[in-house]
Every structure is written in structure tokens, then in C-alpha cells.
């Protein structure tokens, strides 16, 4: 955190000075470790075992927050009899469908009911709740003694019972005593009076089990009562100014603004069906239709009517995974013709840069928008394969348009930070030359396209032609008004175009339009709430009057949990939001994340519908049952509980199960994407992990061109332990070549004890640390670490595995700079005899187009 979010770390240091204990778990000793109370070196890719160990410790030593767990989590809920754990099936949960290579989650459900998830794979929900309570969607049977063998608590307990300190030591390389110190510290700092917070970044997400990493932390935090309470939570530290915003208002294939799912060809055949499958009969998602209708009204205006299904049919449909790497593979196979890169440099920043370049060479046209000519803009004349003469610029047919971009100081707009806070930045000066904002580019592209298609009667074009696109422009460059766009995002009453104040005012009858329901209120009362700048020192520490946090300016989600079931603060020290009995209203330091006047004592009746199903002590309002899920009965592609699997390319065999890797992981079985042996690959004995440095920004587009930053970290380097340096003859400051089956790169050597070798099962495992900021352009240059990494991903979110893989290192500069994509196999193939990633049943996973093998296709059922 000190490395990549120094100013965020300001508050960690402030807490530390007030007595907080800072624990840093990381394969490397980083700048965060330098000031931590406790640094725990862990084998990259083994965090679930570590967190699982903590979960076990909390349960075994009965340190969980019983009252919280009983009331606010699904611990007492009973799971159906068909459920079988990985402990029973050697690493698989029940429901693995051999034919389709994916899970059928039916056996994971609560006994007697089917409940849709608040996020994730909503198609798991059949849309046909068979609850005895009618439309209620939640568990049917509970055991509040937590003793029933099929209650969630007992299932969780059994599932993690093997995650002992001894196992943690074996799997993670973390000495028992160190692990127990962490466990004790976490327990000692949880409960009524104290809370523990977890902070993570892509070190948790970029794994083939990334989502389950976060789930592990969620389970632990729910058990300890650390969710929805001040000083608690699980904090994602995100790396781009508006990466949260680009998830909320997604430039992502699978969702629409406000986490409404993109329609899927198989299920969402009509608007009614879409609402039925993706909404929920209970919990806050029961409001789904209002948000969906308002979005379509914002997009299609008067053309969207109830009769035409709000023009739902003008939305394109998904037919599977269309995520980034899937797109790139399709591109490499010639299926994608045109590509827009807006402020992103994938040939450095994404996995397997050579495959990206191969894909881009197959394009008809490419549009790049950036500040400078990045590696992605110049892939046709500046790349390892060009240097090697394997590809000549003359042979690259792609037409490239480079548009210089305006900076944040040259345009108005809002960023959403990692805490969901929208902050407006004002334009300071005009952009120079032809530099323009993306707002300008997109608006004028749309305007021109509308002109080009004017008069078309083709059904394919009606979406574009009816799209509302009337934003006021100003100035010589005809810059559209960002504030007008924010007004549309906020939403308005269709009749008088007055801004809507909050999302509870949205309607499903077409009388309101709203571009993103969770941002509703950001322009309440006709005031740009995101531009509020009341100085922090002039308001209480939650600072509700600085910018605007979604939803409804709630700074902490699920903060109802900061009060006990009766609505009283758990403790005076941890007072945050509580029920005011006199005013019959929730109140506190933050905007309560609850129905404002729903008393703690409220219990839904049998025929309660929609949000009325949420009891007064159901803090987790987005969940169908209002509870924190220790166990996820639906929504996940790879199981209801986190389980330790080894990375796609590991150094050791899975200690726990015959199933080596996440059975649900996405693979790209292509000749240009070879994998190493699942473990013990003699050609690639070292464990590689990648990371960022304080001094650079991601793929370097915003840092490698600046002298002030470049001089601080001027060259690509690798971090190796003194022992590895000795073994391989690496000298500090000299060169090393790092190789995987995908390619080879060179780097300066930094010999340091900060990246220790780990002892796993009596074997010494050497780790290689690689920052990934450099490329062949910019003021400072170096090889890109991502050239080494394969396409392999988590099945829930299609995020690649780049934090743990295997590779080899040798002293000296690379002689060849080969890439498997253009140079053919770099190493002779190995028979993987006795090294199977999967149990036989998983090994039969079908392979789709472009070599994609995934567990989330809709083709099976």
C-alpha cells in the first residue's frame, strides 16, 4: 500500500501512530513492510491457504463475533442435502458437470430455496423461487445453535478444518509462529470494541482464483464482525484515477451502468425475461426494473416505451465470455477488424504482449488515444519481433489513427476513487493543438455516425438512430458539456427534465430516466454534488460534504452493521450509524445504508414483497436475504467456498487435493499461448511475481515519459535473493534474462534479501520479482514483464493470473528476444506425465473457439 498508494497509506501511518498494528503479508519486503509491525513473507499464489488458516483459527478458538455472526450472516442457514464439499471430492464441489466442464450450482443452494446472488453470475438464479414463503428469497431453515451439520457455520468449519498452522507453513512458507501472531493480532483487534481492516490490491485479484481470495477475506471479516463497521472492511486499493468509475459506469462487456447485467442471448430474450432473471423478488435488487427502465429511457428517450420493451431489443446480447483476453484471441484469429484503445497500453500492460501485437497486426484499423506514442500505438514498427526481423512494418496491414488526448487539467469531469467517492475536476486550460477529451471524441464520433446512418431503416441501426445524443457543446472545438452528461447519469424526470434526487425516486413506468442508478443523486437539486469542496478540516471526519459517494453519499457500505440488531452501536468507541428511537430514524456520522425509517424491530410479513422483505436487522440490503454470505449458495463459477488451488503454473503440487488448479479457471489452449507444466517444471524452476513501484504508473504511459519519475526508476530490473544470485552468477547491477514459454526478457539485477527464498515442503523455492512498467518507448526503456505471462484467468471475472507463475533466470543479456508468437516454440515440449492440473472429470472441459476453455459458457445448462 505504501508502494502504490502512498497517500492512502498516510492514514495507515496515522492509525499506527495511534496504536494500530500494521501487518503486511507479501512475497516481498516492500516499502509497506519497512514500516509495518509485522511482515509476513508468503509464497505468491497461496493466500487462500493463509486466509483459510485464519478462518480456521477464528472458528477453532471461538473468537468469532457470535452475535454479529448469528444475526448478520447466513451462518445459521441450512444448506441442501446434496451439497458435497471439496473435502469429500478431492478438490471439487458437488455439481461439477463433466460434459460442460462447469458447475451446476443447484446443490449449493439453501435447503428448500433458490436465491439469486447480489453480484456475480446471476443466471445461476433460475428466476423461479420455490420458497414456501412465496416471493421471499432466502434460506428456509436455520439453526441458531450453529450445531446442525448442514448449517453454513458447520460447513465452513469443516471446510477449513484442514487449514491448520502446520498446513499454512507448508503451503505458504509462513512459519507457524508468525502465522499465529497474525491470527492472534486479528482476533485481538476484532469484536465490539475493536475492528480490523484488510487492504488489498491486484496481488489478490490477479489469480486464477482471484475472486475466491476476496471471498476468503469476506468470510473472515464477517466472522469477526468487521464489515460495515468503522475501521473494518475489505478495502480494494485500485490503481487508476477512475477505475472504480469505469466499473460503475462500465466500459466492461458484461455489465451496464450500475451493475445491471448485459443481456444474454439465451436467457434475456425479452425485457420481461431480463427483469425476471436479473432482478430479485427480495432485497434491494427487487428494485431492478426501475433502474433498467430508467437506463433505457436515458439512452433511447422518447423512443423507449413500455410497448416496445423500452427498446431493450436494441441492446446487443452476450453469448459467452467477451472479456479482454477473449477478444484479443479472437482478434489474433482475424475475427475483430477494428479496435479502439483509449488511454490504455495493452502491449505493455496486458498479459502476453506479443499475442496482443499479433492480434493487432490482424486488424483492419486501430484507433489509439493517448498523450504520447505508446508501444501499442507503434506496435507496427517498434516491437521485439520487428527488431528480430520476424515481422516487417511493410507487412502489417493495420491502419492506425493516433488521436492526442487532453489531460485532466484540460477538461471537466468526475473521477470515482477507490472508496466510491466521485470528485469533479475542473478544466484549467484549453488542450493544446489537436488534443481533445474522450468526451469530444466519442460525442463527435457518435454525431458523425448518426449522420452517416441517417434515414436507415435497418433494424441494426435503430438503436443508434434513436439514441439520445443531444449534449450542448461549447467553444471553438465544440467540446460537449461534461456536466450535461453527469445530469443524464444522475437522472431526471422525463416530464420536466428536473434532476432526480435519489435512486428511490426512480420509476419503472418510464417517467424517469437515469444513466446509472447508483450515481443517482450526484446531481441532486440541480447541483453538481461531485464538485463539492467543503474543506476537510471544516467538517467531521467522514466528510460528507466533499465530493459525493455512491450510493446516496454513503461513505461506508452496509453501515447498518455498525449497530447491533436492536440498532444500538456495538460500542461507544465504534459508534457510526444507529437507530434514533425518538425520531424513528436511522442516523449517525454517515448516511445510513439502510431504509431510513425501518426500525430494527421490523420483521417482514409472509406476503412482503421487494424491499419490504428486508428485516430491520438485515444490514446487507443488496443480498436477497439481507445477510452477509459466509457461504455463497449461488453466483460463483468455482464454488460456494474458497478453496486453495495452485496457480496454473506452480512450483509445487497441491497439498490439499488431487485437483491441482481451480477447475473453473479459463484457459486459452493455443499454440501461441503455451503453458508450463502444472508444477515442478524443470525448465522453469522459479516462482515469478509481478508488481508496481511507487515511482511509475501501470504500463508507464503516464510516467515513463516524465524525467522526474523516470530518473527515480530508470530501468527494468528484477529482484532476486542473494542465494539465487549466487546460484545463477547474477551480479547486482548486471543483466539477467528471464524466460517463460511465452518469451524472454532482460532486466537489470537487483540482489536483495527483500525477496526471500521460501522453504516449501523442505524444498527451497526461489522467487523472482518483476516490476512491469517498462517498454520500448518513453524516456526510460526496458523489456515488459508481461511478455512472459500467459493467458489464463479467473472464471468469475476473467481477470488474468499474473501474480504467480513460473519461469527461469540466467545471467547476461538476452541474446535473442524471442517470442513464442513469432519465433515458434522456445523450449522443447515436456510430457506432463504424472503432472495433471485436473482430476480426470475436469480434464474433459470442452474447448471453444480461439482455444478458450472456460466454465462460464451458457451453452451448457
Amino acid at each position: 500500500m505504501a508502494e502504490c498508494h502512498p497517500v492512502g497509506f498516510r492514514w495507515v501511518m496515522a492509525a499506527k501512530s495511534r496504536g494500530a498494528k500494521v501487518i503486511h503479508v507479501d512475497p516481498r519486503f516492500t516499502r509497506t513492510s519497512a514500516v509495518a509491525d509485522l511482515h509476513v513473507p508468503i509464497r505468491a499464489g497461496s493466500d487462500i491457504a493463509f486466509l483459510g488458516g485464519l478462518i480456521r483459527h477464528v472458528i477453532e478458538t471461538e473468537r468469532y463475533f457470535l452475535e454479529y455472526v448469528l444475526h448478520y450472516t447466513n451462518a445459521p442457514a441450512l444448506i441442501c442435502e446434496d451439497f458435497k464439499d471439496t473435502e469429500d471430492l478431492d478438490g471439487l464441489f458437488s455439481g461439477w458437470n463433466e460434459k460442460d466442464g462447469q458447475y451446476d450450482p443447484a446443490s449449493w443452494a439453501y435447503e428448500g430455496t433458490d436465491v439469486g446472488p447480489a453480484a456475480g453470475n446471476r443466471e445461476h438464479f433460475t428466476g423461479q423461487p420455490y420458497s414456501e414463503r412465496g416471493t421471499q428469497s432466502g434460506a428456509e431453515r436455520f439453526d441458531f445453535t450453529l450445531q446442525h451439520p448442514r448449517c453454513v457455520f458447520q460447513i465452513v468449519k469443516r471446510h477449513f478444518s484442514r487449514y491448520t498452522p502446520e498446513l499454512v507453513e507448508e503451503v505458504c512458507g509462513v512459519p507457524r509462529e508468525l502465522f499465529l501472531q497474525v491470527a492472534e493480532a486479528v482476533c485481538a483487534n476484532s469484536g465490539r470494541e475493536r475492528t480490523t481492516a484488510f487492504c488489498y490490491a491486484v496481488g489478490w485479484t490477479q489469480h486464477s482464483t482471484g475472486v475466491q481470495y476476496i471471498r476468503s477475506a469476506s468470510i473472515l471479516q464477517l466472522l469477526l464482525g468487521n464489515v460495515g463497521r468503522p475501521g473494518g472492511g475489505i478495502m480494494a486499493l485500485r490503481g487508476h484515477a477512475s477505475i472504480q468509475g469505469s466499473t460503475d459506469i462500465p466500459t466492461l462487456y458484461d455489465i451496464l451502468p450500475g451493475y445491471l447485467p448485459m443481456p444474454k442471448d439465451k436467457h434475456d430474450t425479452s425485457f420481461e425475461q431480463y427483469v425476471k432473471l436479473n432482478g430479485s423478488p427480495s432485497g434491494w435488487w427487487s428494485e431492478f426494473p426501475k433502474y433498467a427502465v430508467s437506463l433505457l429511457k436515458a439512452w433511447f428517450g422518447a423512443a423507449a416505451t413500455k410497448e416496445n420493451g423500452w427498446r431493450f431489443d436494441d441492446l446487443p446480447r452476450l453469448s459467452g465470455d467477451h472479456s479482454h483476453m477473449t477478444t484479443v484471441s479472437a482478434m489474433a484469429d482475424g475475427e475483430v477488424k477494428g479496435y479502439f484503445l483509449m488511454g490504455e497500453n495493452p502491449t505493455v500492460g496486458s498479459m502476453h504482449g506479443a499475442l496482443h501485437r499479433k492480434a493487432m497486426r490482424k486488424l483492419d484499423w486501430l484507433v489509439v488515444r493517448d498523450f504520447a506514442l505508446t508501444e501499442s500505438a507503434e506496435f507496427w514498427r517498434d516491437a521485439p519481433e520487428i527488431e528480430r526481423g520476424e515481422v516487417r512494418p511493410e507487412d502489417v496491414p493495420t491502419e492506425v489513427f493516433f488521436f492526442p488526448a487532453a489531460t485532466h487539467t484540460e477538461k471537466d469531469g468526475s473521477f470515482t476513487n477507490t472508496q466510491r467517492l466521485l470528485q469533479w475536476h475542473h478544466k484549467a486550460v484549453e488542450p493544446p493543438g489537436d488534443c481533445r477529451s474522450e468526451l469530444h471524441f466519442t460525442y463527435h464520433l457518435g454525431r458523425r455516425l448518426k449522420e452517416l446512418y441517417a434515414g436507415s431503416m435497418e433494424p441494426s441501426d435503430q438503436g443508434l438512430l434513436t439514441l439520445t445524443w443531444d449534449y450542448p457543446v461549447s467553444g471553438e472545438s465544440e467540446e460537449p458539456s461534461a456536466e450535461a452528461v453527469l445530469q443524464e447519469i444522475n437522472g431526471f424526470r422525463v416530464a420536466d427534465r428536473q434532476p432526480v434526487g435519489q435512486f428511490t425516486d426512480l420509476k419503472d413506468d418510464g417517467s424517469t430516466a437515469c444513466g446509472c442508478w447508483i450515481y443517482c443523486g450526484s446531481y441532486a437539486k440541480g447541483v453538481n454534488q461531485t464538485a463539492r469542496r467543503k474543506p476537510g478540516r471544516e467538517q467531521p471526519c467522514v466528510a460528507l460534504e466533499w465530493g459525493w459517494a455512491w450510493p446516496a453519499n454513503r461513505h461506508m457500505l452496509y453501515n447498518r452493521a455498525s449497530a447491533d440488531p436492536e440498532g444500538r452501536p456495538w460500542s461507544e468507541r465504534k459508534r457510526y450509524v444507529w437507530w434514533d428511537e425518538e425520531k424513528k430514524h436511522w442516523t449517525g456520522h454517515d448516511t445510513p445504508d439502510f431504509i431510513a425509517d425501518r426500525p430494527p424491530s421490523y420483521r417482514p410479513g409472509k406476503d412482503a414483497k421487494g424491499i419490504d422483505t428486508l428485516a430491520g436487522d438485515n444490514p446487507f440490503v443488496m443480498q436477497g436475504d439481507g445477510l452477509g454470505w459466509l457461504y455463497a449458495p449461488s453466483g460463483l463459477a468455482d464454488g460456494p467456498l474458497p478453496t486453495h488451488y495452485e496457480p496454473q503454473e506452480g512450483v509445487v503440487e497441491n497439498f490439499l487435493y488431487g485437483q491441482q488448479c481451480n477447475p473453473g479457471r479459463m484457459e486459452w489452449l493455443r499454440r501461441d499461448n503455451p503453458y508450463h507444466r502444472p508444477w515442478d517444471d524443470p525448465r522453469f524452476p522459479c516462482l515469478i511475481t509481478t508488481y508496481r513501484l511507487t515511482e511509475h504508473h501501470t504500463a508507464g504511459g503516464m510516467s515513463r515519459w516524465l524525467t522526474w519519475l523516470s530518473e527515480l526508476q530508470p530501468e527494468m530490473f528484477c529482484e532476486v535473493s542473494p542465494q539465487l544470485a549466487r546460484e545463477k552468477g547474477l551480479t547486482n547491477g548486471g543483466w539477467a534474462t528471464i524466460t517463460t514459454a511465452r518469451g524472454e526478457i532482460e532486466a537489470r539485477v537487483l540482489v536483495t534479501e527483500r525477496i526471500p527464498p521460501l522453504r516449501i515442503k523442505g524444498r527451497r523455492i526461489q522467487q523472482i520479482g518483476l516490476p512491469y512498467h517498462w517498454g520500448s518507448k518513453g524516456r526510460v526503456r526496458g523489456d515488459a514483464a508481461n511478455e512472459l505471462i500467459s493467458f489464463v484467468a479467473d472464471p468469475n471475472v476473467s481477470i488474468q493470473e499474473s501474480k504467480a507463475l513460473t519461469g527461469a533466470i540466467e545471467a547476461g543479456r538476452r541474446s535473442r528476444g524471442r517470442r513464442v508468437v513469432t519465433s515458434g516454440p522456445l523450449v522443447p515440449a515436456l510430457s506432463s506425465g504424472g503432472h495433471e492440473r485436473d482430476l480426470p472429470v475436469v480434464g474433459h472441459k470442452p474447448v471453444g473457439p480461439h482455444g478458450i476453455s472456460e466454465s462460464r459458457t451458457q451453452e451448457g445448462d
Binding site: L252, L256, F401, G463, V485
Partner: protein
Amino acid sequence: MGFLSSLSRWPVLQQIRKGDVHALRETARSPRSEQLRPRTEGADRVVQSICPYCAVGCGQLVYVKDEKILDIEGDPDSPISEGCLCPKGAATFQLVTGSHRVQRVLHRRPHGTEWEEVPLDWALEQVAQRVKRTREETWEETTKEGRRVHRTMGIAHLGGATLDNEENYLIKKLFTALGIVQVENQARI
């Protein structure tokens, strides 16, 4: 007389006059030093902004004079950052004013070996036409299985995590209306 007055400003004479034996302080001070002020005092306006690097969202103050940026530093009013910035945030001035920024639209023809400068309008029109052509060539109303998909898989997009919400909104809105589903950004990476 100029000479005399400049002679009278000769510090050594002042030193003697004042009996300042060491001449370590004011005596040795130059007129420039006396008049020194922070350059931000001359700013025409101070614009409140947000750091464009990571997602902590530190406040920035952008000082502008004569329509040029003089200085960018932390905004002490921000409850998030209280005026602090990390090295990247502190380098924002160079990011936005640096000579690395390309200021003209560039075009690389198919099989070309060089960039060519082209007018912005022309390039925008060309892109619009490419989108139209590709979209028409690759339009997919139904899948092989006969399911209605109403889309093009011939066009894709990547990027957005560094862009404004409003920009992402327009991108998602336009591209979805064009039937483009392969819209992705860094959040996936």
C-alpha cells in the same frame, strides 16, 4: 547618478557603514531576493482538480496564469489527501505540460512505415466510416443456433480506467447502441 547610486548599493560599503563584520545576512541580500515571491501568487486563477494517477483521489490545485499552468500541487482542503501527493501526483505538472505530448493527429496507412500528420476532422470522419463499414461487414443479427444477438464482434474497445465517468458513459452508451459488446478496460486487468 547611476554610477554613484549603484556604488552606494555595493554591499561592501553597506557592510562597512553598518559595521556588519561577517556580511552573512541582509547586507549580502540581493534586490531579487528581497522581492522574491512564490510564483503562484501571480496566478490568474486556482483550479481545483483531482490527481489523475491512482484511485486514492488526492486533491490537486492547478495554478493558471496567462492560460498556462504555473504549478500543480496538493489541495490542503481535501479530506483524503490534506495537501499531500505521492511522487506521481507531484509530477503531474510534467505530465500535462511536458514536451512528450503529441499535439497533432497522426495516421499510419496500411503497410506504411511512417506516421503522417492529418487534420482532426478528416481523421474523425475516417474513423466514423471505418466503424460503419466494419459494423456492416460483421453485423450478426442471430447466432448459428438462431439466438438473436444483434451485435458486431468485429469492433472492440479497451480503456477507460483513466477516463472520466462522463466519458466512459458516452463510450458505453454509443458503443452499446452500435452493437459493440467487446468494450473493456483496465478494471479487468
